[in-house]
Symmetry: C2
Subunit: 480 residues, 2 copies
Amino acid sequence: MSLTTKLHFTSTTYHSFNSKSSRFRGYNTKIRPKSIYNFNPLTLSFYQSKRMQGPVQSSSTSVIKSSLIEPDGGILIDLVVPDSEREAKTVEAESLPKVRLTKIDVEWLHVISEGWASPLKGFMREDEYLQSLHFNYLRLKDGSFVNMSLPIVLAIDDETKERIGSSSDVGLVRPDGDLIAILRRIQIYKHNKEERVARTWGTTAAGLPYVEEVITPAGNWLIGGDLEVLKPIKYNDGLDCYRLSPKQLRQEFDRRKADAVFAFQLRNPVHNGHALLMNDTRRRLLDIGFKNPILLLHPLGGFTKADDVPLDVRMEQHSKVLEDGVLDPETTIVAIFPSPMHYAGPTEVQWHAKGRINAGANFYIVGRDPAGMGHPTEKRDLYDPDHGKKVLTMAPGLEKLNILPFRVAAYDTVAKKMAFFDPSRAKEFLFISGTKMRTYARTGENPPDGFMCPGGWEVLVKYYKSLQAEEATPQPAAVS
Amino acid sequence: MSLTTKLHFTSTTYHSFNSKSSRFRGYNTKIRPKSIYNFNPLTLSFYQSKRMQGPVQSSSTSVIKSSLIEPDGGILIDLVVPDSEREAKTVEAESLPKVRLTKIDVEWLHVISEGWASPLKGFMREDEYLQSLHFNYLRLKDGSFVNMSLPIVLAIDDETKERIGSSSDVGLVRPDGDLIAILRRIQIYKHNKEERVARTWGTTAAGLPYVEEVITPAGNWLIGGDLEVLKPIKYNDGLDCYRLSPKQLRQEFDRRKADAVFAFQLRNPVHNGHALLMNDTRRRLLDIGFKNPILLLHPLGGFTKADDVPLDVRMEQHSKVLEDGVLDPETTIVAIFPSPMHYAGPTEVQWHAKGRINAGANFYIVGRDPAGMGHPTEKRDLYDPDHGKKVLTMAPGLEKLNILPFRVAAYDTVAKKMAFFDPSRAKEFLFISGTKMRTYARTGENPPDGFMCPGGWEVLVKYYKSLQAEEATPQPAAVS
């Protein structure tokens, strides 16, 4: 689907989602302050009017003034306790019943503590869980709602529930026993795993990576409450410098005087097809009058399935892509999105977009089959590859985000470069999957010229060759 | 949970769902015309003010003036073609590719044609299907949304899709071949049964009655479009007189000068526990100042599972309940809700409530485990019995409906009557299930005095005894 066609569709949808009154009335200023960030390029092909000129005309000289999109709920959540209170809270936490977290629980605690899930202030209580599971939203006191498509919950077993007894607060400890947080005013409720999985993934087939790694082994209870995190979450893996919080990202966008921020979520190495999408987006944003659009290249850093390329390798590959000049370092910020991966397709892509709103992005690029994977037990994609972008443009609470849907890019064997797939010349395009990349690397064969920059490709060759040595030995269940 | 406590919870919820501005500002007049129907008794325990006096104070002399709640989307949909056009449309329909409907497809066509699903104008196209499946709502052009928790879709097989080819309209025929409607501007899209079932029921376990009867045997494509129904749907089963359309019900409520309409959905015989709920609701509505609350006793008339009591028997039983004076005929309307039953618990109860808004009800009674059943493969309820009322009070598009959640009623062996279950005297209460009723009837034993009026009980005895004769022979797959 071409961007132009899709723009029209999206803009219609967008407008039908906007103010309950006339689409020509001003935006709800609470969630859409009058600033360059309210200008919605997706309306261009819809209005076919002077508005076609974009921000230059629509808000004249204020164009360059940076004024980031508001976080969901209006305030960016930050749950790390002030230094002054740390000691006292730690002493208190010591005295509370303890809940031991898994590595992935800690990743979610990290996500909540920095405000990626704003306005969520802790692991979900039952009302929040039910709204997320059934409606993909959370209602706020003022009647407005924010998107929340994945339940962010903490599971405990019967024995832990017993131990907590009637205590209203608990202490949360890392797998190694290190105290990291207090959960206040807790609520414990049933963990119906079957219902959670069915409503989140749209299947209960065996072999869903997150389900096997996290949900199946988890306890039969969920515990919700408000978080107080004793100190910022660090991983000490040499990549913490890339783990910028939404607050830090907003400061950086302000420092660079960004007048548009477009986010690109990925969990794979960057090839020239991705680069094409990102550079094309920047060009279009400049065309419609933005002066300084900044790209947030935002690889996912939490749990991923065993056959995905691990984070450290991806980060090294991404750096090479910038070094080789495929993306412009001046207008690109590379940072890590600390969320674990669900592989829940249309449901999860909403979370990926919502998290970036909280980091200040007002444009979100979505391609084919976002957050998708093959069906674990059938020979087909688990999700319709077009449902992700359709669901994203119709989702509750994402009205203020400009969705940029793209056609899939593939290798054009005639032009000898990555290009947007043209169905009329389907035979002339080559799709290079992860499996195919792996085969190239294993056999020492190079991918076609123009598929990926040489520096980035070398990183992958090194990684895939290192796997061959291991291949006799079993893979780890998951790679974070 | 007591009504009073729950009222407070509900009213808070209600207000958090109301206008995005101050709760003291007027309601959005588009969906809440200034009339007695806008008065929300659920706010009483919330405000604790003069508003406590209810409609009498809040709208003085206009109290009795009937002005029914608006249908979803503002206009009640009626898709039956005018007499003047019937002949021409029928001739046209004859010329179109045909789609043969199942008995249950016809029930859905009936539902859509009379506006129970307003503003839905036909079987869902993909955008509507995805919004319903993922968000339980439909967005309107003005940005507002209406509740739509069940996908109302029409499935076709590969051969039918082939036959339709590129035609933009199709004719719909009954199982017997009789032409009944035209579907316009059709869209054909994939029917992913696994995803539909998982997201609607929260399980994919074998043995879900609607899935086995309808979805599993259905084709791999869904066809959406706008309906034009050639003539009103009739069943000629002696019960059509009970099948009042939303339009007819609204006329009847107006004729009776109802100033409140409270709906009671059921698919089972009425026992005195149900009567207790309904009479208690009426008393409470009178207490807070309504002058003429009318009960819509609204048994579901479409597909039900084989071990439910069939419609004709239920209708006979309901009449006896009115004859025996357990419910007051003066303030009760008994009619049939033509929808098929999904047994999808918290997802389906939203549909049951939404349909009644379109019929003019502004109060909806919800009890324990609405639209629930036992898990088909595990020894437990399929849904948490409290999730139905919780989800209903938080659902999108039901803000204008007053939800009346009730505790479960059971037989109080001390007071020798049906009463609200009191956990502190749990041992003194007797729960009489359908299975238990059946045992009573089979053994000729009477249920405890005060469980059900004698006239109503006789009807069931006759039915259950008739089953014994059949019991050697296999049950039908379903009873409509």
